[in-house]
Subunit: 496 residues, 2 copies
């Protein structure tokens, strides 16, 4: 076999970024990057038909050697001719090695040079997962890309521990290569070294000397903070060869992926899209939505107006809310399907922007957006000022002797509503007298526009918003828009 089983080709390299677009060829299909791989732990992506994955544009599915070794077991794959036929999927499969599961799963285990000894959670049998058994199992599954068994540790481990685990990973990598032999399946090594640059450098140098078909950045997303992860990712990606795929294992949210693409990574896998679906959450063009929230109870509109997935084209937010609240598995299926479409669509957009020389622009635009939480029904302002100070430029919160809070204009020293409870006054004078609650409930009317001309200390505005939120909790409402001629919203932000 050639040393380059994947025939990797760099299609474009973004300017001002390490982001890159590439193409490679597996035993089953041509794959374009950057690439997200759905996780099919038990040879099934949670609650999804393989037909759905095809329609969503999945190119590679990840399967777990650790779980599939225990059940159904290698003999089944051997008899049935590999995992593709078994799970009815004719695009690519990447099999992990079991290294991460040995590290993370709570079954009694001991580690030695030979491999990891653990007890099967199914029948209690003791199993030695050696680099050779891992590769043998992955060969039986006939996956397109195999991973070498690695020795995974907490990313925050001390240097001595990290060095020892890294050295064992390197020896296991060599044994994995030997075990692969002349199989046509590709094999990736996994760079370790915790958060220590010197070790990462050494690990990358040692592993890239060997004829692997690609390299993974392992040992991240296991204890460190986000910025540490991004730094180590960027540093490590920079140590890897340009002409092989780079794979960041187990990461992450859409934003995490965007950040890692920017730092030079090509491939990703993560359980997040299907896992959050089971909890009732989705990624959309209107931000990250938790569908169990009461605000969706009457929401007739589609889940994501900008999405053309089967969930968005057929079902309303109200119905998906109902399924999520009822814990129905159809909800997991529909929300998970949408999330997979969202991830794949994001990867396609990223790739197109790299090819078009516009990645940095997309990066900055998406970065602002991808961390947003539900733009339609925000639960908080993006940067709540409350925790920092009770003061914002020309305004500050004033606590009256009577105990209630109101607003002081710092320049003039004027305290608005200094002797009466301002919210109570606003409620009585403006909200009740205007019949706002009733008008908000009247869905036969168009959007309700409230003019709060001077804004002042924002008490009237806050009272109107509270009234609206009260109503929205119990029944569907018409949209409300609050308009002011004030050019300074500081008092309203403080009041929030």
């Amino acid at each position: 076999m050639s040393a380059s089983r994947l025939n990797f080709r760099l299609d474009a390299q973004a300017a001002g970024s390490r982001a890159r677009a590439a193409t490679f060829q597996t035993l089953h299909n041509e794959v374009v990057t950057p690439l997200f791989m759905p996780v099919g732990t038990q040879a099934t992506v949670k609650a999804q038909l393989t037909r759905t994955l095809e329609e969503a544009g999945s190119q590679i599915v990840l399967a777990n050697t650790y779980h599939l070794l225990l059940r159904p077991g290698p003999e089944v794959f051997r008899q049935l001719g590999g995992i593709h036929r078994f799970m009815s999927w004719d695009r690519s499969v990447l099999t992990d090695s079991g290294g991460f599961q040995i590290f993370s799963l709570p079954h009694s285990r001991s580690m030695s040079e030979a491999g990891a000894v653990f007890q099967s959670y199914l029948d209690g049998k003791t199993i030695l997962l050696s680099p050779e058994l891992s590769i043998e199992t992955q060969k039986t599954m006939n996956s397109d890309i195999m991973m070498a068994l690695d020795r995974c540790i907490a990313s925050t481990a001390d240097e001595a521990t990290a060095r020892e685990a890294m050295a064992m990973t390197h020896r296991w990598a060599a044994r994995s290569l030997a075990a692969r032999g002349d199989s046509a399946q590709s094999l990736f090594a996994i760079v370790q070294g915790a958060l220590l640059s010197e070790l990462r450098r050494e690990s990358a140098a040692r592993l890239t000397e060997m004829p692997f078909d690609g390299f993974a950045i392992g040992g991240l997303a296991v204890g460190e903070g986000k910025s540490e992860r991004e730094d180590v990712c960027e540093f490590t990606a920079g140590l890897l060869p340009n002409d092989k795929p780079r794979y960041l294992m187990g990461v992450g949210t859409p934003l995490d992926i965007l950040e890692a693409v920017h730092r030079g990574v090509d491939m990703f896998d993560c359980i997040i899209p299907t896992q959050v679906a089971q909890r009732g959450a989705v990624f959309t063009s209107r931000g990250y939505l938790q569908m169990k929230r009461g605000v969706y109870k009457f929401a007739e509109e589609q889940l994501d107006a900008e999405c053309e997935c089967p969930t968005c084209t057929r079902y309303s937010r109200a119905y998906l809310h109902h399924l999520a609240k009822s814990g129905e598995t159809l909800g997991w299926q529909l929300l998970g399907k949408h999330n997979l479409y969202f991830y794949h669509q994001l990867m396609r957009e990223i790739r197109e922007s790299i090819l078009a020389g516009e990645f940095l622009e997309l990066y900055h635009r998406k970065r602002e957006f991808l961390h947003e939480s539900d733009l339609d029904n925000p639960t908080r302002l993006p940067k709540p000022p409350r925790k920092r100070a009770l003061r914002l430029r020309n305004y500050e919160v004033h606590i009256a002797r009577e105990g209630f809070a109101s607003m002081r204009h710092i320049a003039s020293g004027e305290i608005m509503h200094s002797r009466t409870e301002p919210m109570e006054e606003a409620r009585r004078l403006y909200v009740e007298q205007s019949n706002l609650a009733e008008r908000v409930r009247d869905r036969t009317m168009e959007k309700l526009v409230v003019w709060d001309v001077g804004l002042g200390a924002a008490a009237n505005a806050m009272a109107a918003i509270r009234c609206y939120e009260e109503q929205a909790k119990t029944a569907p409402t018409r949209p409300m828009r609050l308009v002011s001629f004030e050019n300074d919203l500081d008092s309203l932000q403080l009041a929030f």
Copy 2:
């Protein structure tokens, strides 16, 4: 509105049976009977897309007023324009009244002439489910067929209890009709009366005086035996008018349905097809299969060779076995989908046989078959002789003084293998020396044929079968066929 909202038309009446084929028109589609309605308790048929139901041929889906009253609540249906749009289903919906849930669910309740008082299992709120609230809720859902709230009791109740409940059911039926008013939605009454013919007669007479659009047989499948159920079903169906649909609520297995069609019933609903799927079981042309059984671990063939559903055309028994063993919801989805196809296909065959004047023939053929359990891998003989006698025509089991069993030919008095343990001898002499285990494991070969020329006391045959079963438990095997020139298999049956 006309008294006959459904425009019911009898298409054919089977000869020698009460089975009938009919057509009626709901607010959404033309419906042909006999008819099975999948159950969508929470406005979703468990784990199934509405697209799947359409493709499987579902004509009406049943939804539960009790559950949907509590969540999402009538206000959601009112705002979103009914249940069809809510769940994205544009064929018919039948809504039950909540009567059965009040009877069967374990939440504190009290019953009075006004209705049933119970506590919501969601928020503990006390709710009075009156006939009027039931109809009002069903009107809000805009279902095609509404059910009148009935007073359900155990079918084995004494006459006084049954009479009182029946009388209340009749008064509630009248109130339900009044509450329906001139709505275009159809309304069915539910005949009660436990297992007592006199009460059933009275209930049918009283209810059929009122202008209902159809009649259900209620209060069955709640404690009585199978033959009692069939008798009461037949008796009650005979009391109902010919020109309206007859609906047996909550029944049942494919065989139960076939029996009830034979007794004159047109409509059925049941959770069985999706419920057994969740437990890993399916109805197929090879009988009722429990997919968790180890015999399917290596089974490459499709679930049901005679079925063209999406599950059967794409997935192997081995994969479905794996999903069932792993408890993956994709398994519930795939097995449930097949079961729904199976039910609908059965109903189509029944209808065609009625129209072709061949129902009785189909009835006898299907009746023999539909109770079968896994013809490919039987776990027992259809009629195990063991429980009745240790004797079959010319053979009997003989217990030797040494404690082991062997076979006596009654006519001659000859005891075969009277002084040595016959199974042990057969194992040593024939199974081990022929290397049977090894040859069974050799899948490169064609079917293995074992000639047991004389059969005798069937010890050798039994030893060969045991050897095969042992091997099949641990690895895939080649098929084995046992052939004998003996024209009398009694000894083998006894040995089983």
